[in-house]
């Protein structure tokens, strides 16, 4: 599944009606979001122009005035070429979820040059991926903010942010497309905002570093990191009869359908009557029973999770087990906190569960359970897997109070 943004370009911000005044003003004053900074070469050119200009006025020498005029004309040419370079170039972000904590993720900037015969050179892209804190920001006055360690705050913000400057190393031909890739590793679960903060270039002569701010951004949910865990045999699925049948193949007692015999099928499953009637060897396919699977319940009350790192580990274990159970067809229902259990019938349901796991937070004990809510605890659910701290660091998954897995 790829997340694709709409195309944006250097003119995307300019929505106002064209007038000559606007054009002239735009030539003099950079548009909003545009940054133009002098580079070393540009500073040198400016200093040279200033020096030559002063000498020209001081001496009234036309040779110096010519040189000054040429340098200023070169600066204008630089602006024109820079504008041509950005003109009719469009870009968009392409993301490839799912993203998981600790795993390398890919972000691509796709480019298209819609110019007829002019190529585009030397673009760079300022990309940033930033973790969005779900908690409301605390407004701290600089006057009253005594003891606020600014440096530590900045350091913390830096940890939750990844930035990169990607260069288009090749020529972007007219009517051509290109792609610039960035890979980074999310450091924590939650919602991350991937932004294309700016598209810049030193083209053509490196006098000015021109950067155009963009509105291109995309929010991506980063799932908890997969973890290694140890399963305990004692708490394997307990088989009980009379369970709820599911509309998918399994090893229950109800006939779901018939199918052709395949090597390895038990001879007990052969449906002799049907085989005789059709002349083909057919076997019974039985419906699965819910009692074969597991229901996951991730409790989020603060009383249970004194240590946030154990809570994180529990979420990772829950996510990993959920994926493993789904893959083996054993994931029945899932629930987080005091919400009602949700059945998992498709990959979409699993993704939704993992999305919720990505953003779940520890909830204070008094509000952990709302009265009257139909939580898994109030319902009769077989093979209910819950999670709890295990010692100082570990987390254990329990099925009906017995250890099922440890991480």
């Amino acid at each position: 599944m790829n997340a694709v943004e709409e195309w944006s370009d250097s003119g995307a911000r300019v929505r106002s009606r064209f007038t000559w005044n606007r054009l002239l003003w735009a030539l003099v004053f950079p548009q909003r979001g545009q940054r133009i900074m002098l580079t070393v070469s540009g500073t040198l050119l400016a200093a040279l122009s200033l020096g030559i200009g002063m000498a020209a006025y001081n001496s009234a020498n036309n040779i110096l005035f010519i040189t000054l005029a040429l340098m200023l004309a070169c600066l204008i040419l630089s602006g024109v070429l820079s504008w041509l370079n950005f003109s009719r170039v469009r870009w968009r972000l392409r993301l490839a979820p799912p993203w998981r904590v600790g795993q390398v993720t890919a972000v691509a900037v796709e480019l298209g040059n819609r110019k007829t015969f002019l190529p585009t050179y030397g673009l760079w892209f300022e990309l940033a991926a930033r973790w969005l804190d779900p908690r409301p920001a605390v407004v701290a006055s600089t006057i009253t903010g005594k003891g606020v360690d600014l440096k530590a705050s900045l350091e913390k913000a830096k940890q939750n942010e990844a930035v990169a400057k990607l260069h288009l190393r090749s020529r972007l031909d007219p009517q051509g497309t290109a792609r610039v890739d960035w890979s980074f590793v999310p450091t924590r679960r939650g919602v991350w905002r991937v932004e294309l903060r700016g598209v810049g270039s030193l083209f053509p002569f490196g006098f000015l570093s021109k950067s155009i701010g963009t509105d291109v951004m995309h929010n991506v949910t980063v799932w908890p990191a997969p973890v290694e865990y140890r399963r305990h045999a004692v708490a394997g699925s307990r088989r009980q009869t009379g369970g709820e049948n599911l509309a998918r193949a399994g090893s229950g007692s109800d006939l779901l359908s018939l199918r052709r015999y395949a090597a390895g099928d038990s001879h007990r499953l052969i449906h002799w009557k049907a085989s005789a009637r059709t002349g083909r060897l057919l076997v019974r396919q039985l419906a699965a029973e819910s009692s074969e699977g597991f229901s996951l319940w991730v409790q989020t009350d603060a009383a249970r999770w004194a240590k946030p790192e154990q809570f994180e580990l529990a979420l990772s274990l829950a996510a990993t087990l959920a994926e493993d159970f789904f893959r083996s067809g054993q994931l029945m229902r899932v629930a987080i906190g005091d919400e009602a259990p949700r059945p998992v019938r498709s990959a979409h349901d699993l993704d939704a569960f993992l999305d919720r796991l990505a953003v779940v937070e520890i909830v204070a004990t008094d509000e952990a359970q709302s009265p009257g809510a139909a939580t898994p605890a109030t319902m009769t659910v077989r093979n209910l897997m819950t999670f709890a701290p295990d010692g100082a660091r570990s987390v254990v998954a329990l099925i009906d109070g017995a250890k099922a897995a440890t991480a």
Partner: protein, 725 residues
């Protein structure tokens, strides 16, 4: 389908950068050619070394590291030594600049070193331009700008290709490190071929047009930059001295003027607001030499002290001629550098105005102006209302006692001269004018004119020896002889050097004097007119034309339409419009632009009104069948042209610049049209598939669009034919 254009890789860009950096160094150091500075050896070494480094970029790696360590101290030591030995500031700085360029040109460069090349090169070119005001500067700064912009562009592309902060291809601080990969692989021929492959003619054309635009914009900026009249003279001139040609200094030896005549370069250009004012045979006086001794003519100390006023520092000087009523006649002189510090003048004047402040001395009785220093750059001055006359009035000379330095000749030479004078005058005391005529006849009867003349050997004064012989002679010998003969006859006489004649440039409409027009003549004091009468004894140098028709013939004969005149016209344009551009010219230009714009507006309005009136008259006229047919036909033609443009537009639009829709969009639209036209017709599936690919498919899957559309057209025709049959 269009093939993807190749692209230069990182190594090739590095090679191109190296090549352009070398070219910039060479372009810069070649300023020595016209800077006339003693740096020829350095320039030759730089050219050879940098040229070799361009062709073989791996060679700089052979230079041991200690050379790089010692390079900077050595260059500084050289500069200080140069400064101490020459006792001048600017020439050592220029030589230092060349040395630094040499070093940068033959060592692997970082980004800052590349920028250094541009700065050093620009300094050299600007200094040369300021000092010489030469037209070559214009060509050189253009070439340098184009090269520097290409160089900066390649640097930007290199940075983009390698990514900011990457050190690939960069040079480490140890310049003697191993040969960079790009240098080891570089072959000039292959690189140029690759560049040619990579370049798109449309991009190159646009680049060329943009550069023309840069030149145009810089011209506009040059004219538009506000000027303030700051009364300063150029500081750079003070740091460099230049020696003028000896023929126009205050001492000349025989042959000095003739040496100048060998040089055909332009010495002086004169703009005249009333060309008819230029005489048929103009004499441009520069130096007056009244003393003859040690076989050379010189300006006597008496004249130097008495005739020249004290030095002034100002922009203008008033002469002795009265102002002309009404609009005056302006003569604008552009005296090339290295000619003389004495300004060529055709006579007395009302006002002489320099383009910038000058230090000069005026000698009113001699009609001379001498600048304090030999100008190292072109000197421009404007003279208002010349009074041109063969007589230089000097009533004070008679009052001073008509004293001239005595001729220091041996007695035998003096006796010889007396005998010659007796031959000329027949022993009678002749009026000056008559003496001049007879002396000229006598001289031309004995000697013919030749630039390849030689003084006969023997004792005594060389001029007297030449007079005694039948050897041919040049202007100095003829003029010098007349001075000696006149002085022997008791007539005060002096030698004058300057220019005579010149050509009228038919392209720039100005008078051009070349060094080959250098001339020497003499002036004899005529008490009857209380002035110095010009006498030119050189054969063929008639004093004045016999009549007006001959005068007109001379004027017509001096019109120059040769290729060198075309080039000179460029130079004059450079002086008129660029070098001499000042606040006054700026205002005049603005007024001219304003008036021409108003004029253009008036004409445009008149033309539109005229067209409107014509159209109205045509519409209101009686309509007969012929007119209806004509108008209908015209209208049909316009409609057909519109349809044809739309129908065949695709192939034309292929080459149209700046079109609104991209080529592939047009192809898709055209394919959509054809799919509609062919719907329901029995056409082959392959054609429909090709059209559908053009309409909906990726451009990479397309067949050649025009061929597909041609097939579609043929298929439709065939289907119609079948239906009819």
């Amino acid at each position: 389908m269009e093939q993807k254009r190749p692209q230069l890789n990182s190594d090739e860009l590095q090679q191109l950068k190296w090549l352009l950096g070398g070219a910039l160094v060479l372009l810069s150091v070649w300023t020595v050619f016209y800077l006339e500075l003693d740096a020829w050896t350095m320039m030759a070494i730089t050219t050879l070394a940098v040229g070799a480094a361009i062709v073989r970029p791996s060679w700089p790696a052979l230079v041991p590291s200690w050379v790089h360590r010692l390079a900077f101290p050595a260059i500084v030591a050289f500069f200080l030594g140069d400064l101490y030995l020459t006792a001048e500031l600017l020439p050592p700085i220029v030589r230092l600049d060349i040395l630094l360029l040499l070093y940068r040109g033959i060592s692997y460069r970082k980004r800052r070193d590349d920028l250094q090349i541009i700065v050093l090169g620009l300094f050299l070119i600007v200094v040369a331009g300021v000092l010489t005001v030469s037209l070559v500067f214009a060509a050189q700064i253009m070439a340098f700008t184009a090269c520097a912009l290409a160089f900066l562009l390649v640097i930007t592309l290199v940075d983009a290709t390698e990514g900011a902060g990457s050190d690939k291809g960069r040079v480490t601080s140890d310049k003697s490190a191993a040969v960079p990969a790009w240098a080891a692989q570089m072959e000039l021929g292959r690189l140029l071929r690759r560049v040619r492959e990579v370049l798109d003619w449309r991009v190159v054309t646009l680049g060329g047009l943009l550069f023309v635009g840069v030149v145009g914009v810089s011209a506009l900026l040059f004219m538009a930059i506000p000027r303030f009249q700051l009364e300063n003279s150029l500081f750079l001139e003070r740091f460099m001295t230049k020696k003028a040609k000896t023929g126009f200094s205050d001492t000349i030896r025989f042959g000095d003027v003739t040496d100048i005549q060998q040089d055909d370069s332009v010495a002086l250009s004169v703009d005249v607001s009333a060309p008819e004012q230029v005489p048929a045979q103009p004499y441009w006086r520069m130096v007056v030499l009244d003393d003859y001794r040690d076989q050379s003519f010189r300006m006597s100390p008496t004249v130097r002290l008495r005739s020249f006023q004290r030095e002034r520092t100002q922009r203008f000087v008033l002469g002795e001629a009265p102002p002309k009523k009404g609009t005056g006649v302006f003569w604008t002189f552009y005296l090339e550098s290295g000619v003389s510090r004495y300004l060529p003048l055709a006579g007395t004047f009302w006002e002489l105005r320099f383009m910038e402040m000058q230090n000069f001395r005026l000698a009113p009785s001699l009609r001379l102006i001498a600048l304090r220093d030999e100008p190292v750059t072109m000197t421009a001055y404007r003279v208002e209302n010349f009074v041109i006359s063969p007589i230089v009035a000097d009533p004070a000379f008679a009052e001073r006692g008509a004293a001239q330095p005595a001729l220091r000749l041996r007695t035998s030479d003096q006796e010889q001269l007396k005998r010659f004078v007796a031959e000329i005058t027949g022993g009678a005391a002749l009026p000056v004018e008559q003496f001049i005529t007879r002396a000229r006849l006598w001289l031309t009867s004995k000697h013919r004119y030749s630039l390849q003349s030689q003084l006969p050997g023997g004792d005594g004064d060389p001029l007297v020896r030449w007079l005694s012989s039948a050897e041919p002679g040049h202007c100095e010998l003829f003029a010098g002889s007349l001075v000696l003969l006149a002085r022997t006859a008791g007539i005060p006489a002096r030698l004058v050097t300057g220019f005579k004649g010149g050509t009228w440039n038919a392209f720039s409409n100005n008078f051009t004097l070349r060094n080959s027009d250098a001339h020497a003549w003499c002036e004899l004091y005529d008490v009857t007119v209380e002035g110095w009468r010009r006498a030119d004894p050189t054969p063929g140098a008639g004093e004045a034309a016999a009549d007006e028709s001959a005068d007109a013939a001379v004027r017509a004969g001096r019109v120059d339409r040769s290729w060198s005149a075309r080039f000179d016209s460029l130079r004059v344009f450079w002086y008129r419009r660029i070098v001499n551009f000042d606040q006054r010219t700026q205002l005049e230009t603005l007024k001219a632009v304003k008036s021409s714009t108003q004029e253009f507006g008036k004409r445009l309005r008149a033309t539109v009104e005229q067209i409107g009136a014509t159209m109205k008259a045509m519409v209101q006229g009686p309509w007969d069948v012929k007119r209806v047919v004509l108008w209908g036909g015209g209208l049909a033609l316009v409609i057909w042209a519109g349809w044809a443009a739309k129908y065949f537009g695709f192939s034309i639009l292929d080459f149209r610049l700046g079109r609104r829709r991209a080529a592939h969009e047009l192809v898709r639209a055209e394919a959509g049209l054809w799919l509609g036209r062919l719907r329901g017709l029995p056409v082959e599936t392959a054609l429909l598939e090709d059209l559908q690919r053009l309409r909906y498919g990726a451009t990479a899957s397309w067949a050649e669009p025009r061929a597909v559309f041609r097939r579609a057209r043929d298929a439709r025709r065939a289907a119609r034919r079948n239906r009819v049959s």
